[in-house]
Every structure is written in structure tokens, then in C-alpha cells.
Symmetry: C2
Subunit: 196 residues, 2 copies
């Protein structure tokens, strides 16, 4: 009993480091970059608020669990900005090693359970994982709309690239949401073009 | 449909401000104070990891929902450090006004649902709310153990005060957890006394 609790607390202390992992996207007021811990909270709230956008087969509480733990691997592997050119296979291997180490801090049964949820998220094949990915992809768009362009400007991103890298995934999980958000994003890019 | 989504997105954009609300407790590496958004993520992970410490009547997914949204009122009302002397009734009134405004941004049915969860957490009478409060109280203790004393030192807190202000609440929701954490906290205070 005591050992189990000690392991769980060691894990909970270790994951505090996620608060120091910075993402490419600034927070809405543009005062600083978002960290992955507060991002994980925000997307869990997205899932809760936007639950009706998911298909009837999606179990929102499982989606929330996935979203809460999916970025923990970044403690070892770092955040990989979606618009940055990178070796996807090498980064995926780094994330798997991170998952081994970090979830491995937990008691065995819980380590297995969390790892399975993380693997499911990464594979993006189940309805829950597809919706979770949708949510994870859509939140940075809305932050960039709030902060004045954020990582789109830093990475010289075009609307076509957003359609490719984000749109397809959001369409899969929540088509009405994509329709709504895409119109706002297109409006932003049109206003940028008009002001050049 | 579109109006509903627009209201939900307005709420999700507004709650981004929770990332700027600072708490009394520093993060584990003692580099800076914790903000309420990343705190909310961390305690949701605490609930998930420590679910076995809850009684069998506790529904962890409801606890997680409560924990995710319970601090949103701080956007308007601020964080009230547990060891700071304050007018509890005045602060509670500020928080209720904040709940009215912030949850009121959502579509009506969802506003009612979230407000009911928040009221339930605040009342701390149901098994889910009692466990949620337990988790919310225990995380800062473990942060202070990691960061070297943090808000205990800033607020000149004694072990007796922790027993009073935190221990009783944690005992109610998770006695074995309190037993474990209390021993660590007592060890910290003993080592402080020895080094004076
Ligand atoms: Ca991510």
C-alpha cells in the first residue's frame, strides 16, 4: 500500500515538469508562450465544452483522460511544433522512450492502463482518439486568432498549410466545428492579405 | 447551432486568462509561482492517479470534471491563499459573481450544468466533492515538499496549522493518503526545526 502510494506520488511530482515545457503558440493575451501543462488543462476543457461536436460513440470522459496525459512524454521528448520540419520517426521513437520511462514510474497496472490510453491517442484510430486529436489540433488555431497570429506568423504558415496539417484531422473528428473555425481562420488570413 | 458554437468558443477563449492567475505555491523546481490553469491540470492528474484512494461511491470522472472547472472563477475573483487571513464571506460572494459571469458565457443548458458542478464542489457535501477538495488540498503540500517549503515559509505556517487547515479535509476524503502525506510533511518540519 505504502509503496504503491510512494510510486504514484513520485510520478505526480515528476510530471510537474510539464509546466516548464513551452509550446510554439502564445497564450491568448500574447504575453508569453503557452506551456504544455496549462495547454492540457485547456484542451480538457475544450473536450468538456465541445462534447456535442463528437459523434454519439465518443465517450468524453475517456477523451478527457487521454488529453490530460497525452503530452506528458514531452517532459523528455520536448514539444514538436506542428509547422516545424522534423524527422517524424525519430521524434516518435523519443516519445515512446519517454512513455516507457514516465508511465513506468507508476505501479504496474496503472502504468499499463495509462500507456494503453497514450498508445490509443497516438494511433488515432478509435473514435475517442480521433476526437481527442481534433481537440488538440483546434485549440492552437483559436489561440492564434486571439493572440494576433502567433505561431502562424513565426512559422510563415499559409491557409493551405493549415488545411493540410490541421483541417483534415479536425474534419475527421468534428466536421461542424471545422466548418466554424475554418471560416474564422480564413477571415484572419484574408485580413492579413488585405493589410499587406 | 452556429450561435451555440460561437458562445462555447467565446467561453473557451475567455478562460485562457486562468493561465495568468498566480497561486501562492511555487512549482516543484521553485523557478516561479504556479498558475491556476496548470494547477487544474495537475490536480486532475492527481485524481486520475489516486482514484483508488477514494471511496467506492466516488465517480472519478465527475471529480475530474469538477477539478477542471472549479478554479475558473479565479479569473474574476483571484486566488485566495489558504494561509492568508481574509473575509471568507466577501470572497465567496465575489466567486459567486464570477461564476455567474463566466459560466453565463455558455449556452444555457451547459451554463446550468457547469454551475451545478461548481456549486457541488464548493458545498463539499457529496462524496465526489469531498474527494475533489481532498485532492485540491493535498497537491500544494507535495509541491512545497518538492520546492523546499514554498508558501509554508512565505506565510510562516506551522505543522499545527496544516493539520487544521488541510489535514481535516484530506482525512475526510482519503485517510490513507493523509497518513502518508502527513508523515512526509512532519518530516519536513522536523528537519527545519533541527536546522534552526
Ligand atoms: Ca500535443
Amino acid at each position: 500500500m505504502t509503496d504503491k502510494l510512494a510510486d504514484q506520488i513520485a510520478f505526480l511530482q515528476e510530471i510537474d515538469r510539464l509546466k516548464g515545457v513551452l509550446r510554439a503558440t502564445p497564450i491568448a493575451d500574447n504575453s508569453r508562450r503557452e506551456n504544455s501543462a496549462e495547454h492540457s488543462w485547456h484542451i480538457a476543457m475544450y473536450a468538456l465544452v465541445l462534447a456535442d461536436e463528437a459523434g454519439p460513440e465518443v465517450r468524453i470522459d475517456r477523451v478527457i483522460r487521454m488529453l490530460l496525459l497525452h503530452d506528458i512524454v514531452e517532459i523528455d521528448a520536448g514539444d514538436m511544433p506542428i509547422h516545424e520540419v522534423h524527422d517524424a520517426e525519430a521524434h516518435a521513437a523519443k516519445e515512446r522512450a519517454a512513455a516507457d520511462r514516465l508511465f513506468g514510474l507508476l505501479p504496474a497496472a496503472q502504468a499499463t492502463e495509462f500507456r494503453a490510453l497514450w498508445d490509443e491517442f497516438e494511433a488515432a484510430e478509435t473514435a475517442d482518439a480521433i476526437f481527442a486529436k481534433t481537440i488538440d489540433r483546434v485549440q492552437p488555431l483559436l489561440l492564434n486568432l486571439a493572440n494576433g497570429g502567433g505561431s502562424w506568423i513565426d512559422y510563415d504558415v499559409t491557409l493551405d498549410q493549415i488545411d493540410d496539417r490541421v483541417g483534415e484531422k479536425v474534419m475527421r473528428g468534428a466536421p461542424a466545428l471545422w466548418h466554424h473555425v475554418r471560416a474564422r481562420v480564413a477571415g484572419f488570413f484574408a485580413s492579413q492579405a488585405a493589410s499587406v
